[in-house]
């Protein structure tokens, strides 16, 4: 009788332990939701039109100079054929007074590790996130690694601060760019809205 009681007690304890383990599993909260209009609402803060599903969501832990989120696609062709675009709440640089000033600061550090020779292909004023902005199209080349990148950076304003969007498309030096990815990026940027004031505006 005593042995039976002990067996039952052990079973109850094991069951309790297992249920405890099950309850310790936390459900991973997805930071976005889809709207009936096909847009994505990200953390109730941003709304945008997402790219097609062949673009993978890219998210980096928050920290100094880290992007909020973006999308990435592996392109056909040899390394480093890949395209990435992202929204950045705090793009490189400090100046908030002018887009041109920020652009100069930004390109001192943009893709800094790659040590590229950048050439500005186009620079123009644009409308972005409900106000004036600046779009800069550049191409960078690495003659040593025989790689190149085509990138577009769009600066806009959120409150007193400058925010940025950028796309980079890497290719081998003799590869050709897929400009349709830049259209996807432009649609993403054009659809981008702030749904509430930024953290900095609420201080």
């Amino acid at each position: 009788m005593k042995r039976k009681l002990l067996t039952v007690l052990c079973f109850v304890l094991v069951a309790a332990w297992l249920s405890g383990c099950a309850s310790m599993q936390t459900s991973k909260k997805v930071p976005y939701r889809l709207t009936p209009q096909g847009t994505v609402v990200w953390e109730d803060e941003f709304e945008f039109m997402p790219p097609s599903p062949d673009w993978k969501l890219l998210r980096v832990e928050a920290g100094e100079n880290d992007i909020n989120f973006g999308f990435m696609r592996s392109d056909p062709g040899p390394f480093p054929s890949v395209t990435t675009f992202a929204y950045d709440e705090d793009p490189f640089g400090c100046t908030a007074a002018s887009f041109e000033g920020r652009e100069r600061e930004f390109f001192k550090r943009f893709l800094f590790n790659a040590i590229l020779q950048f050439q500005i292909l186009n620079r123009k004023k644009v409308q972005v996130v409900g106000g004036e902005g600046l779009a800069v199209l550049v191409e960078g080349k690495d003659p040593v690694k025989k790689e190149k990148v085509r990138a577009k950076v769009v600066f806009g304003k959120r409150g007193d601060r400058i925010v940025g969007f950028y796309i980079t498309q890497w290719r081998p030096m003799d590869g050709s760019y897929d400009l349709s990815a830049f259209d996807v990026f432009d649609k993403f940027v054009a659809s981008f809205k702030f749904l509430k004031k930024s953290f900095y505006e609420t201080l």
Binding site: G63, E64, G93
Partner: protein, 104 residues
């Protein structure tokens, strides 16, 4: 450091001042600050004196990692965090400290 530079107007709002500390020499810091557009003071701490002074020099390690320290107006250390600065956390702390009347 760029993040602190971007937040200077907010630090002003909360009566806070920022000072950077680095193990680099003065010439390197001048060049670096000029390149990044840093306007707040940077202290050259080549002998690690400040690390020892604030008791944040890890034992047996020749260098110290990134650390954010907030000191109030009476000289009391009120905030210490290791790693890359969490600017939102820092700003919220400074706002709270300013509201308490304990200007950093």
């Amino acid at each position: 450091m760029e993040g602190h530079q971007r937040n200077l107007y907010l630090y002003d709002r909360f009566n806070a001042r920022v000072v950077g500390v680095s193990r680099d020499d003065v010439t390197t810091l001048k060049y670096w600050a000029n390149g990044l557009g840093i306007t707040f003071p940077l202290l050259s701490n080549i002998t690690a004196f400040l690390g020892a002074y604030f008791d944040i020099q890890p034992e047996g390690k020749p260098i110290f990692g990134r650390r954010t320290v907030i000191i109030d107006k009476t000289g009391i250390i009120r905030y210490v965090r290791d790693g890359s600065p969490d600017f939102k956390d820092i700003l919220l702390f400074l706002k709270k400290l300013n509201q308490e009347g304990g200007k950093p």
